[in-house]
Amino acid sequence: MNTILKIIKYELRDVIRSKWILIYFAFLFLITEGMFQFSGSSSKVLLSMINIVLILIPIITISYGIIYMYSSREFTEMLLAQPIKRKTLYTGLYSGLALPLSLAYLGGVGIPFIIHGVDESGQFTVLLILLMSGVALSFVFTSLAVLISLSSDDKVKGLGIGIFVWLFMAVVYDGALLFGSYLLSEYPLEKPMLGMTMLNPIDLARVLLMLKFDMSALMGYTGAVFKKFFGSPYGMLLSSGMLMLWIIVPYLIGKRIFVRKDF
């Protein structure tokens, strides 16, 4: 445990010195603060932040994570020659990446809300879910970034795969789902759609957020089915569980690769 903390400490220093994490924080802070200045109502800010969270966090986390993993190859090799277990080193490297990314997000979006507050107390849960799902997405895409960078020694290929994964989850997947449901519009598709939504972490976060905003009415009958399912404690539990799986499964596969890898 002690060694993990030491690794995180030295990695944090490296991450902060590279300044990208500070730019990410400043960017999120300025967007959130800017929206408060322009719209003035916290409900509008919350609504706009959904799209920022769902699109920005995955792409920034996955590309930064992959680039960082490749550029810290020296750090990793140097530490591997020291008396440190590979599993410990992996946990340290992962945490040293996921924690600053999550903190930059929490700070960047959270601080303006602390300054301005929310209009109604009901929005507080929405804010909480917004922050939590953003952190969950940061962890999910850190796991994927680590896994991708360990699977390929070629930097360009790794980054390419990362961007493809993001594009697929953020854009292509929904498009394909929409197209499929259009082709099969004669059939009752609510249940399969529910299942398909569970398989994409960005969709999971989106549904969780949408339902809290009571926008499900806009989604018609499917929205009603979704609300019934995801709105229930069972559905909430299941979708949070799925998000956890999206963090843990790539993390463990990455660990397995890391423990056996030649450097």
Binding site: K6, Y10, D14, S71, L80, A81, I84
Partner: protein, 236 residues
């Protein structure tokens, strides 16, 4: 003492190390030589735990290295290409390694001081010149007073003065009963330093014995000629 039993390593179809069996004597300087791509660096990386063997076992002081990492406290290594975390200062790098290693013996700054590296302490690793990096690399290998030193082409990239200082330091450490493993393409360096010699060709051990013994055996004037004739007789 380092004992290697039935070690095999392949990269895809390329069989780099073929059933290596070795014992590296404690308290002596052992040179590993062989042409480029013969598997020297792979062997060293496996001993350091950077690479995993396909089969076979390595024992450092009779402990199986696949089961623990503690043995790395007793190893100081100088990799062929110095790769450092670029955003750290020299002093931070030293503190980090000191922090991560259970350094019971204290710090040995002799080589560090003789290389005048104290002026570079606050510089970022990425701003150092190639030669300075290599000197930091060398000084770090000795810094934590390890019992075993593993030096992969240590004199490459060093100027003659730094190189001589390094060789003096190696001989000095050997007198303190430390085990040294060294690889090099410079035969005169090996003749000067090493007592034992392991010659690897295409992943197999061709010779394992003393340097003097080999030269006398082949009846040549120096190590370079001896190795050349050994390579020729092996169809190279």
């Amino acid at each position: 003492m380092i004992r290697i039993e039935g070690l095999n390593k392949s990269f895809g179809k390329l069989h780099v190390l073929k059933n290596i069996n070795l014992e590296i004597e404690k308290g002596k300087i052992t040179a590993i030589i062989g042409p480029n791509g013969s598997g020297k660096t792979t062997l060293i990386k496996i001993i350091l735990g950077l690479m995993k063997p396909d089969s076979g076992k390595i024992f450092v002081d009779n402990k199986d290295i696949s089961k623990e990492v503690e043995y790395k406290n007793h190893i100081g290594s100088m990799p062929q290409i110095a790769r450092f975390p670029e955003n750290l200062r020299v002093v931070e790098l030293i503190n980090m390694l000191n922090d991560l290693r259970a350094g019971k013996n204290g710090v040995d700054k002799e080589l560090f001081d003789s290389y005048n590296l104290n002026n570079e302490l606050n510089k970022m690793m990425r701003t150092l010149s190639g030669g300075t990096r290599q000197r930091v690399n060398a000084a770090l290998a000795f810094m934590f007073q390890p019992d075993i030193l593993i030096l992969d082409e240590p004199t490459a990239g060093l100027d003659p003065i730094s190189s001589s200082k390094l060789k003096d330091k190696i001989l000095k450490e050997q007198k303190k009963e430390k085990t040294v493993i060294i690889t090099s393409h410079i035969m005169s360096d090996i003749e000067e330093l090493a007592e034992n010699l392991i010659f690897i060709l295409e992943g197999k051990i061709i010779y394992n014995g003393t340097v003097k013994g080999l030269i006398e055996d082949k009846g040549k004037i120096n190590l370079e000629r001896t190795i050349a004739s050994l390579m020729e007789s092996n169809g190279k």
